[in-house]
Amino acid sequence: MSATQTPPEADAGAAHDHHPTPRDYIRIAAVLFVLTAMEVSTYFFEFGGLAVPMLVVLMAIKFALVAGWFMHLRFDTKVYTRFLYGGLSLAIVLYVVMHLLFAFDHAPRV
């Protein structure tokens, strides 16, 4: 464990012993590359009603891969994960509240 990482006693059982190697990172980058190519394919090929759900799922997988592996959330204390997904949850709540507000009081029309 490096000096920068959280000691095991900070969150018992949260940190994994296994730490990724450069080879792991390259594998993850390759997966991200393929997922992005799949996203872009929705622009060139017709997926009908599946396109939007597929894009949302691909986006979520890419998000989780970058946060989990590149930002080391999989191997670090769960407190940091809560900060990240707490902020994300609040942002989603903000979006829903704004939509509800605009549903009752339409956005200014130009």
């Binding site: 000096a3 900070a10 990172y25 980058a29 894009l55 890419k62 930002m71 080391h72 902020g87």
Partner: protein, 195 residues
């Protein structure tokens, strides 16, 4: 823990905790702009709308930014193992990819302006430029941080025993990448497909 490491009452390094708190708050910052963009998506004031987007071009920019996250994490890995020469190499590669992404954004904006999509054209244009412009500003700050790290490691002010410094800048850089993952799908791809 050594005396040199600053802990919070949670037993975590307070600098890293501060960075995660900052990144959590940044979600609200970008969440507000993304929500505003989606709400004003159709408010084009008879001007250009999402059809103006050049998805193949933006896709290449997205690939570049995504791969910059790989070089960033490799820089951190090299620093953890005390390989400062390799760490600097990956830092330069990350900053270079960030510059390519920013150059692409400047080019994209200039094309949009030539085609009549300017900041004050419509609510759609304003929300688009503010959102993607702020993201670009974050990338620019990230490049400055990376170049500072590079210079400081060259002059010996960032030592092999201080990988937290690379990790902190890496967290910021990956966050900027993660936000682009969302922007690319929600701002570019989904509206373009639904148009």
């Amino acid at each position: 823990m050594t005396a040199g490491v600053h802990d919070t009452t949670l037993g975590l390094d307070h600098r890293k905790l501060a960075m995660w708190t900052f990144l959590g708050s940044e979600f609200l910052f970008f969440g507000a702009f993304i929500a505003g963009y989606l709400l004003y998506l159709d408010e084009t004031a008879a001007g250009p709308g999402v059809e103006i987007f050049d998805i193949p071009f933006t896709s290449i920019s997205s690939f570049v930014l995504l791969m910059s996250s790989l070089t960033m994490v490799l820089a951190h890995n090299a620093h953890v193992h005390g390989d400062m020469r390799r760490m600097r190499l990956w830092i330069l590669a990350t900053a270079g990819q960030g510059m390519v992404f920013l150059g692409g954004q400047v080019y994209e904006f200039s094309v949009f302006v030539r085609e009549g999509l300017v900041l004050t054209e419509s609510p759609f244009a304003s929300s688009f430029f503010v959102l993607t412009g702020f993201h670009g500003a974050h990338v620019f700050i990230g490049i400055l941080l990376l170049m500072s790290l590079y210079s400081l490691s060259l002059t010996g002010k960032v030592k092999a025993s201080q990988p937290l410094k690379t990790e902190m800048i890496g967290l910021y850089w990956h966050f900027v990448d993660i936000i682009w993952v969302v922007i690319f799908t929600v701002v570019y791809l989904i509206p373009e497909i639904m148009a």
